[in-house]
Every structure is written in structure tokens, then in C-alpha cells.
Symmetry: C2
Subunit: 335 residues, 2 copies
């Protein structure tokens, strides 16, 4: 019997409903060994995101995973209050979770990432699904970080798809374009998971019902949160469903799903004050010839997937119902 | 017997191989009555474009149509020499045409547009297939221009498709973003024909052979020019063929082809010095719900066509072989 290779992960998030799904996916995946989690302001403040993360970890029976508070404000400017209309005032769709017993780690998110990179040189994977403020700070703390990290997967940007916070900008990148510039300019293996692929792989009401019926508090809580999320996305898609930004990035990072079209191209971030601020300017002019190689480019931009993601996501989240690690959490309160 | 309505047209161009096709299309179309042509620096200088236009008009038996010289330089900066690698040093693929007898009009392109708008109030159509320098100048000369013009069709920009001069910018708009801003901000009916639709409707070698075999100097000269153009596009598409930017805009302007998907949306032009300079920032966030109405928006952005354009284009250009107006040109030298 072979066991899947389990990769050590640093997970950077702004929890957030789809962040909660991504976290649960990582915890359920046999290919991910989450060694530390940092939070950043985005969907909610870094502090609220950390609280949500701690509560979810306890619910999932993973309270031992350390959570570090990251940057409250972007590199320039100040945090503007997040997206309560998308994620609810508490960030998790007004679902109440039992308050975790564990407290925050005694290090910042950036310090945690640097420490883990040194503890797992060449094998640490980074999954960043919020604004890139903490990752940019870690690059300043440890310029050798790109050499120490095996790869970084980022949920963010819009390549050929429309933006979601402006006509051309996606929220994670637009919330800190200066940090994104630093992260995308660093010399490491980057996979960018933009709206092109996260808006075209959708979770439907039938999937949500499967989670609600699971008989385990983690998928059940996620199903409840998704009720809130679906109401926002009804204004985008015209029916009760949602994009799956963060869990899709998680699945690509662990290898649970594969990219179909994912050219390695030059990506610049617009840091002007013009109408393109926050846009990921991806050089996809090779579109008409199946993307010839671009010398010097190193950012893999995922434009489409092999297969259908939603069933894989739901099946992975339902595995909580069978897991022993999560058994301690059964019966935890979901108010 | 009903005659098609023939619309008076002002045509602004930077001739250019695909401009030559657009001009020939307009001359062959029963729905267009070209009352004046202005040139602007783009593919070639305004002066070279005017010379090519005069020579083409003579070849087509339309030497009576006045041609006015327009702006040599964009609103800011200076003309940078055009695109000889795409269109040839002479702008028409190194094809030599007999030099026209007619000279230039005694007015600028912008003055011609303003004059024609006053002569055909409410019915003049404008087709602009080069940088928008002359049109912006005309708006400054006559602020009432948008009220006098029935509609303006512009070949330019990239909405969801990649750019062609940078990752996100198309050449016509990027050659004078400040002028484009003024033109797109004016209160008139605008149809934008971006790379999204011009790169996905392609002319093939078989179409070129039909033109070469036509037995009339106009389609024959166009077929020869397209040999040069195809060699450039072989580096884009991987085979001998070409985009049809300008003739497609002409066909949409006269109603020879119809748009399928063409939402009316807000369009801003990036005039920063960032990586998005020259981009048409089109608000296509309504994509997922079939583009709900955007209050205040008035720019129709053509994203796809009804039917196949290339056969219509070729058939229209081949009508020269039958026309009486062009008969005088038969035998004109095409070296």
C-alpha cells in the first residue's frame, strides 16, 4: 500500500467563506500537511480572519495547527473594511462557531512563513488566497525565501476574464497591488489561479445540500455559510450558486485537480492610480498559437481545468464524515 | 425594386493593408456613400496613408472622393514610425500602384469631418479605423459634433482578448490613448470593434487566391498586399492567414454583417504610464448574466458576429469585377 506524498504547507488566508472551504479542503486532503496558517486583511480584517480560522480548526479537530496574525493594512494605504456583503459581517456568512480554546501564535504570519521555509527547505508549499501583504513582507524578511519554497499557489487576478472589484481587477490583488508586484517579481515557481478559472467552475445548490446532509459539523457549517455566499452570487450568475475561488486554488496546490490550459507567461501588476489599478496584466498574446514559450516568464496562469471540480470538492469535504481525526469534533456546536 | 439606403460616410484611416480592404469594401458597398476621407498616422504616416488612399481611389474609379490630410502626431508625443513589419515600408505590402492624379483636399481631416457633419446633419456616419487623433480634434473644433453624427464605428481596443501592441493594448487606441479618451467620453452612439472579434474572424489563403483570380485590379492588388500581411500573421496564427480588423469594422458600420454579442457598457481608456497604457477598460462584469443594462453606458462593444465574415468580405470585394463604376480602372497598372 502506498501513501500519497504529504507536502508541508504554509497557508495564508483572510477567512472568508471560500477561505473556510479551502481550509477544510486542505485539512481533508491526504496530500497536504498544514504546518502553519497566517491571516491577512481582505474579506475581513486579519484579526477576524484569525478568529474564524481558529474556530474552524477546532471544529475540524485540528486545533494544534498554529495560526499567526498577519498584516492588518496593505503595503500602502489602509484596510477598508472587507466585503461583508459577500461574506457576512463575521466573515463566515453569519454562522456562529464555538469559540476556539487556542490562541494566536507568538510570531507574525510573515515570521511564521520564513520559519517554516527554513524548517522545510525546498519542500514547503505556500498557498496564498488573500491579499499578498504577508508574503511580500516575508520576502523582505528573508530574501532567500524563493529558494527555500518549493512552489507558491496564489488565488488572484483576472487574465482574460473580467475583474470582480473593478472592470479588470480582482479583489485579492487589488487590495494590495504593491505587495502583489513584489511577490510576482520574485524568482520562484508561481501558479496564479485567476477569475478565469474560478468563475467558470461553480458550486450549485445541489452540492450545498450534500454538505448540509453530511452529518458532520464541518461540511454542515460550510453548507450553512454557502447559503449566504450563494445569495451574493445570485446577483452575478442569476441563480443560487457560487464561484469557488479559494478551494480551487487549494486543490491545484495539492494536486487534487489538474490544470488543462495554464501557460507560463509574463505577469505585471498595475500599481498606477488609473482604471487598471490592481489588474494582473498577463501576456496572453500567444493565445492563437497555443502559447509559445516566453523566455524569462515563470508565472503559470491557470485558464482552465481538466475535469469537473465541484464533485471533487464536495467528495473531499464529505470525507470529514468518515475521518478519525475529525471525530473529536463531532457534536461541536454549530448555532 | 427597392434600393438599399445609402448612408453618407466620413472615413478616417491610416492606409495600411487592412485599411485598403476596408476602403475597397466601402466603395463596393451599396449602403455606403463615402463623402470624404481623412488620414492619420498609425500603420504609416498620415502623408503616406493619404498617398495610398488617393492611389487606391484612382484604381477603383473613385478619384472624385476628396482625401484630407490629418494629424501626423498623436495628441501627446510624436509619431513613432508605424508598423512596416506588418504593412510593409510603403504601407500596402510593397505593392506599387499607379500614382493618382488627384491631390489632397484644402482642409484638414478634422475640418472635413466637421464640414460633412454640417452638410449631413443627423445622418453622417463616421468610420474610424486608425488612431483617434483626427476625431478628437474634430470634437474640439465642433463640440456639437456628437449631435450631428448619426453614429461612429471604431476599430480599436481589446475587451477580453489579449492586446496586439502590448499584453492588453491594441495599436489604434494605444497610438493615441488621450484622443481615444476624448472620443469615447463624447455623447454619441459608439460601436467599438475590438480585437475580440477581429482576431476571431480570419481571412485564409483560399480567400486570397479568390481575390488574385478576380480579373480586376482592385481585388487583385488587395490579394497581393495580403501576401505581405499573411506573412506577418503567420507568426501570430501559425499559418498563412490574417485578422480582418478594418474591413470588419467597415462591414459593421454599413450593416453588411451583424453583431451577435455586443453589450453596451462603460469603456475607459488607460492613459497612465503603467503596464495598461492604451488599454480599453471595458466593464464586462455582466458576462455571467448575459450583460444586464448599465445605466449611462453608451459604447457598444462587439464581441462576436452573426455568421461568417470572410465569405461576405470576399464576395463584396469581387463585386468590383462586375461594377461599372470601376470599369474605368480596368487595366491600371499593378506592378
Amino acid at each position: 500500500m502506498t501513501t500519497p506524498i504529504s507536502h508541508p504547507f504554509y497557508f495564508d488566508c483572510d477567512t472568508g467563506i471560500d477561505d473556510a472551504l479551502a481550509l477544510a479542503y486542505l485539512l481533508a486532503s491526504l496530500q497536504a500537511d498544514v504546518r502553519g496558517i497566517g491571516t491577512v486583511s481582505g474579506n475581513v480584517s486579519a484579526a477576524v480572519g484569525a478568529r474564524n480560522t481558529l474556530d474552524l480548526l477546532q471544529l475540524a479537530g485540528h486545533a494544534h495547527i498554529p495560526v499567526a496574525l498577519g498584516a492588518h493594512d496593505p503595503q500602502t494605504g489602509t484596510f477598508r473594511g472587507g466585503a461583508p456583503h459577500v461574506h457576512g459581517a463575521n466573515g463566515i456568512g453569519e454562522v456562529s462557531l464555538e469559540a476556539a480554546g487556542a490562541g494566536l501564535a507568538q510570531e507574525t504570519a510573515a515570521e511564521m512563513l520564513v520559519r517554516l521555509a527554513h524548517e522545510h527547505p525546498g519542500t514547503l508549499r505556500v498557498l496564498a488566497i488573500g491579499p499578498l501583504t504577508n508574503i511580500a513582507e516575508a520576502l523582505r524578511l528573508e530574501p532567500e525565501l524563493p529558494r527555500l519554497v518549493e512552489e507558491i499557489t496564489i488565488m488572484g487576478g483576472a487574465a482574460l476574464a473580467p475583474g470582480n472589484i473593478t472592470a479588470v481587477a480582482e479583489a485579492n490583488i487589488a487590495n494590495d497591488p504593491e505587495a502583489a508586484t513584489d511577490v510576482l517579481a520574485a524568482d520562484w515557481n508561481i501558479t496564479l489561479v485567476p477569475l478565469d478559472v474560478t468563475m467558470s467552475n461553480v458550486l450549485e445548490e445541489s452540492h450545498r445540500q450534500e454538505l448540509l446532509a453530511a452529518g458532520h459539523p464541518v461540511p454542515q457549517a460550510l453548507g450553512e455559510m454557502l447559503g449566504y455566499y450563494f445569495r451574493f452570487y445570485e446577483g452575478i450568475f442569476g441563480r443560487a450558486c457560487s464561484a469557488m475561488h479559494d478551494p480551487l486554488a487549494a486543490a491545484l496546490a495539492v494536486g487534487g485537480v489538474k490544470a488543462a490550459v495554464a501557460p507560463v507567461v509574463q505577469v505585471d501588476v498595475d500599481t498606477t492610480d488609473g482604471p487598471g489599478r490592481g489588474q494582473t496584466v498577463c501576456d496572453l498574446r500567444g493565445l492563437y498559437m497555443d502559447y509559445p514559450e516566453q523566455p524569462g516568464a515563470r508565472c503559470r496562469v491557470v485558464l482552465s481545468l481538466e475535469g469537473d471540480f465541484a464533485p471533487h470538492l464536495v467528495a473531499t469535504l464529505l470525507s470529514f464524515s468518515e475521518s478519525t481525526t475529525a471525530a473529536v469534533a463531532v457534536g461541536a456546536a454549530v448555532a
